[in-house]
């Protein structure tokens, strides 16, 4: 009897505590594959700008250091700390599915960026890597009018985002431009000096190389440096991916041919908005993942001007 009473009070107190907590602040966590990337930085800025307006919203970013294990740990930590929403860029769909499931199970909406996971969750705000890769394929194909030699600077095997982009690109080649030969594909590990090294060997092997597709801008810039120092920059179309500020500048200089640009600020902002709406109840969570696509934009010398300074990240 007394025990029961005691428990009731305890429960009441607990409820009070929780109530207080939720009334005070809404905690939103941001967990990209790595904080050390122009893209993830831009997302962060986008998110922060959106949240700035809101009062009593707290925001914390963590660094998964490109390791799925670590990202999973940090997901757990967000969950345990009772965050109210999580904006996540899964390093790998399969690897993060479990954590996302766990979070959603605890009623924490998870909004993923670019990479979806295997099980349904709140929403995914994606630029559709595969589609964008396909688009780059088309652009290069057009530019080479249907024939020539192309090489690919890959991401590490198993790095999903990169793989999607490459798949899309290859699909375009296979479908639309059967005469374009993919003469080489090597892993430059997202990394600029590795990209230089590998681009050099591409240039060695292929006396006639017409285009290079790097699955991120960083590697594209590396390829550019190599081509330039080999004095073959003129003959090679170099395409990157993401459209970070530095690359756009290089496009204007005509050193890099183009890149698949997305407005990462917007993308981040959208994700944040979705999160806020879900929390405020303005938006109801569906049974399956809501897909918000941010269309990729082919930024080339002619079109890059359309990207306004404030949209460059």
């Amino acid at each position: 009897m007394a025990k029961a009473k005691w428990m009731v009070t305890a429960a009441a107190l607990f409820g009070l505590a929780c109530g207080a907590a939720s009334a005070q602040t809404v905690k939103i966590g941001y967990l990209p594959s790595t904080v050390g990337q122009a893209l993830t930085q831009a997302w962060k800025t986008g998110i922060e700008n959106t949240l700035k307006g809101q009062q009593n919203v707290s925001f914390q970013a963590l660094d998964a250091q490109m390791k799925a294990e670590i990202q999973v740990t940090m997901m757990d930590d967000f969950i345990n700390q009772g965050y109210n929403a999580i904006i996540l860029q899964p390093i790998d769909a399969a690897a993060l599915t479990a954590s996302v499931k766990k979070a959603e199970g605890k009623g924490i909406p998870v909004i993923t960026l670019n990479t979806d996971t295997k099980l349904p969750h709140a929403a995914v705000v994606t630029m559709d890597d595969e589609g964008a890769g396909y688009m780059v394929g088309q652009e290069i194909g057009k530019a080479l009018n249907g024939k020539g030699n192309v090489a690919i600077l890959q991401s590490p095997p198993g790095a999903q985002a990169g793989v999607e982009r490459e798949k899309g690109f290859r699909a375009a080649m296979a479908k639309l431009y059967p005469d374009i030969k993919i003469v080489g594909a090597q892993n430059a590990a997202w990394n600029k000096d590795k990209a230089i090294e590998i681009m050099n060997s591409f240039l060695q092997v292929n006396k006639q190389l017409d285009a290079v597709f790097a699955v991120n801008d960083n590697m594209a810039e590396g390829a550019m440096i190599a081509a330039e120092s080999a004095g073959r920059l003129g003959q090679i179309k170099i395409w990157g991916f993401n459209g970070q500020k530095s690359t756009l500048a290089l496009i204007e200089q005509g050193k890099i041919t183009g890149t698949a640009y997305t407005n990462a600020y917007d993308q981040g902002a959208t994700a944040a908005k979705v999160a806020l709406d879900l929390l405020s109840g303005a938006k109801k969570k569906g049974s399956k993942t809501e897909v918000i696509t941010v269309p990729p934009f082919a930024a080339t010398k002619d079109t890059v001007a359309q990207i306004k300074p404030e949209q460059r990240w």
Partner: protein, 334 residues
């Protein structure tokens, strides 16, 4: 009370102090969920650390543990996605694989008398590559990380009550290993081989076999951790665990097992693992910028070890001085 015992007490005290500080700084630290995930983390590192402790006791080092984790998880997913074998058949096979790798390390180290660091560094590279090669691929030949649905396998990632299975396994393994080291001949041989190989040989210990055995055990532990990791993440990736060596080493060394061999035990390693796990977990609670976190972690590691080493040195100096005085008194008496 022995020097090492005191050091251990100090470390434990530090552990508790940090714990308290954290729970004040952030109430969510002291929740069941968080503590359990903390233990889960600690256990995953800890299982590997147990094997690594034995390696350090033999005055060796094993840089390949990370890669072993990677390849073991790959072996598992291959069984899962290409065969119908049940978990209780392929898990033992995977563990055996870990032992085999350890045996290869041990073979090169003992028969060719090569430095452990480099041999295991080499095998690390080879295994990392192999992991990518045997990784499950999609029709276009891209590595594809399978979402594991094998119930039995996934059940390893579950909890018993609030405690994760991996934690229980860690504790059991730790106790068993500690007992093995202190109360069996094989265990004593490992200490002997580490403290003074020549003497060990003269005493009729087969040092080479002992070393190979130790490396096999290290491989086994890594493989075991790998399976729990995969179960927890419901998938396996060819880059699993690669780079985690340094965490393990830090845990063991902070636990008070030196590189010089011949000394050290599992209790220390447990404390060390908890210490690192605690810091890594706590740092996330402080709302620090992710950039500052590595600085803090690196700083704490170095400070702890500096203090520890300094204290040990100081204590030993005192002990030897005392011993010398005693000897002189003896002479007087004689």
């Amino acid at each position: 009370m022995s020097v090492s015992a005191i050091r251990r007490l100090i470390l434990t005290g530090l552990l508790i102090a940090i714990g308290i500080a954290l729970s004040i700084a952030n109430p969510t630290f002291l929740t069941m969920d968080n503590l359990m995930t903390l233990l889960q983390e600690a256990s995953l590192t800890g299982i590997v650390a147990i094997g690594f402790t034995l390696i350090l006791i033999t005055a060796g080092i094993d840089m390949s543990i990370g890669a072993v984790i990677a390849i073991t998880s790959m072996i598992c997913v291959n069984f899962i996605s290409h065969t119908q074998l049940p978990a209780y058949i392929y898990i033992p096979i995977a563990l055996a694989g870990g032992c085999a790798i350890g045996a290869i390390n041990g073979f090169f180290i003992t028969y060719f008398k090569l430095p452990e660091f480099i041999v295991t560094l080499a095998t690390r590279g080879i295994l990392a590559g192999l992991a990518l090669i045997i990784a499950v691929k999609d029709e276009q030949g891209f590595v594809q990380n399978v979402f594991i649905e094998d119930e039995v396998f996934l059940s390893l990632g579950e909890t018993v009550g609030p405690v994760y299975i991996v934690t229980i396994v860690f504790i059991v393994l730790a106790i068993a290993t500690q007992f093995f080291m202190k109360r069996t001949r094989a265990g004593t041989n490992i200490y002997a081989a580490g403290a003074n190989p020549t003497a060990a040989r003269l005493s009729g210990i087969n040092v080479d076999r002992t070393l190979i055995g130790t490396y096999m055990f290290s491989g086994f532990c890594a493989a075991l951790a790998s399976i729990f990791l995969a179960a927890r993440m419901m998938t396996a990736m060819p880059e699993f665990g690669i780079g985690s060596e340094l965490d393990v080493i830090a845990s063991v060394v902070i636990g008070g097992t030196p590189f010089t061999g011949g000394v050290g035990d599992i209790w220390g390693t447990i404390i060390g693992t908890l210490f690192i796990a605690l810091i890594k977990n706590g740092i996330l609670k402080l709302g620090l910028s992710p950039y500052i976190q590595p600085i803090v972690i690196g700083g704490i590691i170095i400070v702890t070890v500096v203090l520890d080493v300094w204290y040990k040195h100081h204590a030993e100096k005192k002990a030897t001085l005392a011993a010398r005085r005693k000897a002189m008194q003896k002479e007087v008496a004689a």
